[in-house]
Symmetry: C2
Subunit: 350 residues, 2 copies
């Protein structure tokens, strides 16, 4: 890093307030407020005058004053585990889209898969006065809901379903189970899982559970040495698959917690001379941009992130406006079949 010396910069001037506009237009601030908020009952000529005055002065209402006065901040918060994760970014993006249309601002924060941190960030947002809050998953710090309740604002959870709380998501166990069943149908018998960290992460946990149960229902089992938990990312996927190979006879198929992990596993498999899908079928999660372009193209569980974001936005907006709303919105994930899955080779089956 290199700092290039340059002119030193300085600040400020007083920006116009409602009284200035009122003066210029020859009315009271009450009327200015009425005009600017579109309330009815202002004579056309005064309305005109106010509009022009505001325009001339470049008046912009002070958000804090307005918020203080109306008791609404017109902002909603969102706390996601990892703001650099594609799926969360997509949700945030679509969530924001909706909020923006309704005049709300999105304030997002990062919790890094840690309950304490999540609580801290959420509290920070609450202090800011957000009018609503979006969270990811159904596992949170025990104090979190109390604090949210104390602020009396609506909250919605995303990505997973919840028994008690408002949520927009999908059945992680069921969709992962579907992937497992698909593999079993193809003829696979030894199926492994590489997931991200599962601590305090109901999505990851549910997926593995779903797979284990699906296998059990078909008379198979998820061997402990084929149930790997690693940190996210391509590197994690490589490590995970390496670990799996170290534990006895390799699986003929694996289901991964993200497409990045799947990508990593495929790389490691290839480095070990295994053919995908010949020797190893691979399924990812999320349907990332690159998934169709991998070689072979990656079979993956597509999560409709944009729809989740939209639905979560709609839910929160409705509640903030006092409209009734259903507690649970389910948006199903979808298994996208591509070239990384195939029946196992005969000799691998014994």
């Amino acid at each position: 890093m290199l700092d290039v010396p340059g002119e030193i910069l300085e600040p400020l001037a007083r920006s116009p307030v409602a009284r200035d506009v009122a003066h210029r237009a020859g009315v009271s601030t009450a009327t200015v407020s009425r005009v600017l908020n579109g309330s009815a009952g202002v004579r056309a000529d005064k309305r005109e005058a106010v509009m022009r005055a505001a325009q001339d002065l470049g008046f912009v209402a002070n958000g804090a004053a307005r918020a203080l006065s109306t008791r609404r901040f017109m902002a909603v918060g969102a706390v996601v585990p990892n703001i650099e994760n594609e799926a969360f970014v997509r949700v945030l993006s679509s969530f924001q889209e909706r909020l923006r249309q309704a005049g709300y601002t999105l304030v997002a924060a990062n919790a890094g898969y840690d309950l304490e941190d999540e609580l801290r960030e959420a509290t920070f947002l609450l202090e800011r006065g957000v009018d609503g809050l979006m969270l990811v998953g159904d596992i949170h710090h025990p104090d979190l809901h109390t604090r949210i309740a104390r602020h009396g604002i609506p909250m919605v959870q995303t990505f997973s379903l919840s028994r008690e709380r408002p949520c927009v998501g999908f059945d992680n166990a069921a969709s992962a189970a579907r992937a497992a069943n698909y593999l079993v149908d193809l003829g696979h018998r030894r199926i492994g899982v590489i997931s991200g960290l599962r601590k305090d992460n109901d999505r990851g946990g549910a997926r593995v559970t779903g797979i284990a149960q699906a296998l059990a229902a078909r008379g198979l089992r998820l061997a402990p040495e084929h149930d790997i938990e690693i940190s996210y990312g391509i590197g994690g996927g490589r490590d995970g698959f390496r670990q799996m190979l170290a534990g006895g006879p390799p699986p003929t198929a694996i289901i991964c917690g993200t497409d990045q992990i799947a990508f990593g596993a495929m790389i490691e498999a290839r480095a070990r001379g295994l053919d995908v899908p010949g020797d190893l079928s691979v399924i990812g999660h999320n349907d990332s941009d690159f998934a169709p372009f991998l070689d072979p193209a990656l079979t993956t569980i597509r999560i409709h992130s944009a729809e989740i974001g939209h639905a979560a936005g709609d839910h929160l907006i409705a509640r903030m406006q006092g409209r009734p709303v259903v507690r649970l919105t389910q948006i199903d994930a979808e298994l996208i079949l591509r070239a990384s899955t195939a029946p196992p080779r005969k000799q691998a089956l014994d």
Copy 2:
């Protein structure tokens, strides 16, 4: 999407305010404020009492009231072209990290590579009362700077250098030129470029210019048919390279605007039976997570996004606190050599 009927939810209760705390602690709101803001000059026993009362009541200061009173919102805005773009997400993430430490909240918005939209989003943030603003690049709507100035808040631009305005970035032309020179040094003579959309995008434009100039300085030229502009993404890269092949003798090396584009170009090249790097050397931009894992591993220009975000954060914080600051911070990009670049085959050189 499926809506499952559920209980209908409802709201509210009054949250405690400073006066409540004052009452409970037997002091005035002035003292409460002093304690909660850590101002000196409050006797220990009263301080204790206030702390406990606040704790018991679960008091959280109303952000709007505080903002109104202090004239500082403790929030800064950021408008980026595409919130789903890896490089921008990284910058936002590190930017936020710094802000958060200093007690500021980040409010981010999406402009989608459109000047009008950028103006709209920035105005929205300005209305919100942000205390500072981060933008990307040096090309903006003519009205934007006027509006920012009217609010009297500091602004910093990122990713590119600017002649007039505060900025944290790197010399896009120079770093792209370095990549071009490297290719020429390897022996390449026909070098192509696939960039993202260049309209209103000084980064993309500068990179191409830098490459063209570097080539010119070595007695070569960037042929128009080898100068391709496409929309971002892997698909864009494929299309771009296809277009390039349609335009006469193919280049022996290409420089791409992002790693995604490079990835797409590599896929297309392989689909055409070209070997990378044997028949085609490829250089990307950004050093994405997947770059080292592509086959072959991608040579790329690493942009130190995290440092840019940190520096931009530091810059804004300093100015918001009235401290002097240098106008321009340069953070150099770096050419990361991997396996996707090599000398051209002899027969390709004529």
